[in-house]
Symmetry: C2
Subunit: 482 residues, 2 copies
């Protein structure tokens, strides 16, 4: 039966209309889809696979350093959510409330967790008695809901998202603060090794930090349109929550004291960075470790050679299947060209073409998705060669992403420079700042750029705040940000 070879294509250009390109790539390649609930999306198999892989990789690292997994309830009673007022104020505008169950009105509204500090810490206060119970480092992988009223964008601003939320409790401030490098280190490692994506680590300004935190640290990305996007973060909460939730313990000297706490998270929003960073005008470009299909084999038939081609292709497929996620696309009635386009759109890292000439040479023709390079591979060396190719693809993607990030961080010496760079070059602008809230707020009002973070690695900086001209105490990164 004839097949309708209507070809799905990405019609928008990444460089010209990023936001249109981004949603076309997400939806048309079958990565995610819209749902019946505005702002909530469906993770299709390739997206969920990537998330599952990241989750497992991070979880193994967490377990290694002693962070343990738990699962706490989805619903939080309103009274509990309101216990820490700064935190509550921060989340209340975005909370979805359950008010009825079955045919019964509830006496007290239940919030769908926007984050789980309040319900977790209530339990922590029951469980923690003595210094022997510390540190307590609990994590959960779950779904949270934040009913944002801004225009939702799949993965970037989804009302429901998936994440890890780590919540740890320490006896001392030093231990709590020391966790930061460990956790941020794990996130950076996974970003590099799985996402093939770099980031800029720094401290949030007081104005931008997490509701309830003493100090927030984040990993920041730059998207292809030059806007920043916040990645994983780690918050030192001091005793803000332990005092509100009565998390006290008997210390070694026999005194009851409040504990020190941290929270940390990486979310499915990171998949947006993945797609945006590596994708091109033909669609997704998946780094090998997160690719749902790593290799696609496309047989090229001529009259009367189908059986021989299929036999050969099947042999290569069986050989690779033990080591890679591989697909043999022997669908009837579709042309090789249609298949190439289809799998390119989906971002499969390596395509293997097998035709008459290839069989004659006992080889396959490999095509890299990231560079388009074609190279024949001897059938006997296919596993080994493809393994190297996967490493090369991963490294190429990472290096390109690092290059892009580097070329999108600018330094401004005057406020005029600052505004000019923001308009013309976009990206992140590193500028001296007095750490005054007023300068930060004014800059944001006047330019739309907020402080993404204050980089941990401080260069030499001019001694005047870019806005007020008073003494600068640090160099901060500014950007328009998602």
């Amino acid at each position: 039966m004839a097949v309708d070879e209507k070809v799905e294509r990405i019609e928008a250009r990444k460089s010209e209309n990023f936001s249109e390109w981004y949603t076309q790539v997400l939806i048309r390649t079958g990565f995610v889809d819209y749902s019946e609930v505005s702002g909530c999306i469906v993770f299709k198999p390739p997206a969920y696979f990537a998330w599952q892989t990241i989750m497992n990789a991070i979880d193994a690292e967490f377990k290694e350093v002693g962070i343990e997994d738990t699962y706490f309830p989805l619903l939080i009673p309103e009274k509990l959510l309101a216990k820490e007022s700064e935190h509550f104020e921060g989340f209340i505008p975005e909370v979805a409330w359950v008010t009825e169950t079955g045919k019964t009105k509830l006496d007290e509204r239940l919030a769908i967790r926007p984050t789980s500090e309040t319900i977790m810490y209530r339990s922590f206060s029951k469980w923690i008695r003595s210094w022997r119970d510390l540190p307590l480092r609990y994590n959960q992988w779950n779904n949270v809901l934040r009913w944002e009223f801004k225009h939702p964008t799949p993965l970037i601003r989804s009302r429901e998202f998936l994440w890890n939320e780590g919540h740890s409790v320490f006896a001392t401030e030093e231990e709590a603060i020391a966790e930061r490098d460990q956790v941020i280190g794990i996130y950076l490692k996974i970003l590099k090794e799985y996402f093939a994506v770099p980031g800029i680590v720094g401290r949030k300004s007081n104005n931008e930090k997490f509701a309830g935190a003493v100090a927030s640290y984040s990993v920041e990305h730059v998207m292809p349109d030059g806007w920043a996007l916040q990645g994983p973060d780690h918050h030192y909460d001091g005793r803000n929550f332990s005092e509100a939730f009565d998390i006290k313990f008997l210390d070694k000297e026999g005194k009851m004291v409040y504990a020190y706490q941290n929270t940390f998270a990486i979310s499915s929003r990171e998949l947006a960075v993945l797609v945006a960073t590596h994708g091109d005008d033909r669609g997704l470009v998946m780094p090998p470790k997160l690719a749902y299909v790593q290799i696609v084999i496309v047989p090229i038939y001529k009259k009367d050679n189908k059986d021989r081609i299929d036999l050969f292709a099947k042999k290569v497929y069986e050989q690779l299947k033990k080591h890679f996620r591989v697909k043999l696309d022997d669908r009837d009635g579709y042309s090789p060209g249609y298949k190439y386009n289809d799998w390119e759109m989906k971002g499969v890292p390596v395509r293997l073409e097998i035709g008459e000439k290839d069989i004659a040479n006992d080889s396959v023709m490999s095509v890299r998705r990231d560079t388009g390079e074609k190279a024949p591979i001897k059938a006997s060396e296919v596993e080994h060669e493809i393994r190297s190719m996967m490493t090369a693809i991963h490294n190429n993607l990472y290096n390109k992403a690092a290059e892009f990030l580097k070329s999108h961080v600018h330094r401004a010496h005057t406020y005029d420079d600052f505004k000019m760079i923001l308009e013309e070059k976009k990206g992140i602008i590193t500028a001296p700042w007095c750490e005054g809230r007023e300068c930060e707020v004014r800059i944001k009002e006047e330019t739309g750029a907020k402080i993404t973070n204050i980089p941990v690695e401080q260069g030499k900086f001019a001694d005047r705040c870019i806005y007020c001209g008073k003494k600068a105490t640090c160099e901060a990164n500014f950007a328009r940000s998602y």
Copy 2:
């Protein structure tokens, strides 16, 4: 500093007061805990670890047979939930409704998913166009909420629980039905290999089947108190949902036809079976594969030998750590007896005691949690020996569970027999049945026993229905059931 050696103990007897024993074991051993929301529990690390292990094991099996993971939204618009009326009627009394977000009243109520047929099938109807898109076999691992108004019991009847929900679509009825053995086979395999628990496979009566299904199959367990508890299930939904949700496809002959569907699930309720089946009066007994800690090493100090004991214990620990989840309990100030009790309660499969005599013999003393057997193991053979011991423990637990199940399935020949067995022996009663709804309903009213399932393996049965005396068409299993 002196330690308060107040010993937590399980005070209830499993054989005398199962329900009190059950909650004491769950709560006092730190497996789960109550939360601030009635009917919703906290999975502490040992419980979540077991769930995560099961999830990964089943997921690998699913992937192997072509079942793919997705993630669909938590919230379902009321209109969508109401599309299949039988299904809707079944779930409506238990639905938690979101009616407000932030400070805004919603126009339409949103249900927290009690199950995801309706939101998934809406997407399926968009995605499925032709026979080439089938089979589509999607799964998700998520949390669901069913606001039961009966007295909640942790894990057994929790308002929020974790599960897999598989939803597959086939072109033909034959393919749909053929999936059942595959999926039930996977569940049984994991039950046997991880939970060390058997079950009885059978078809649900029409009265007891899933709301919306044509035929439901379940795995049934018997709990220590003789009540049945339903395990994983697989439902053939025919075209009930495909017609309601317009899941049509162009078949090979070019006709638009409705698809055939299945759903299947295993839930965190299964952890209740795990705990109840293997536990004893001293607490949890964990099968090795699901044990959060598999081996605990307890050093026994005498005056002046602490350094030597610690050195030896540390060596054994390092050796085992590569292969097992092992804990070296070198906590200061706790007696060995306290530690034994603590880890026994938590169900750790193997304890290794290391004292002066053991060092002298270059060995460790092993104690099995399941049997209490003590045996010295040469230090050089510890890895190998413990590996065999773990297999032996697993097999012993499975065999005991299978023996218990066997001894709790009875055959009744008359209705008087039936009632007598139900009162005195409890468990499952296999009895001939005419498949009439009225007999089923009357039996339930009169005895409290419902049909758990109609076993796939039908023995020879008497030719008269146990209730009405008319011709029996099958042999069904009856039990009082959770």
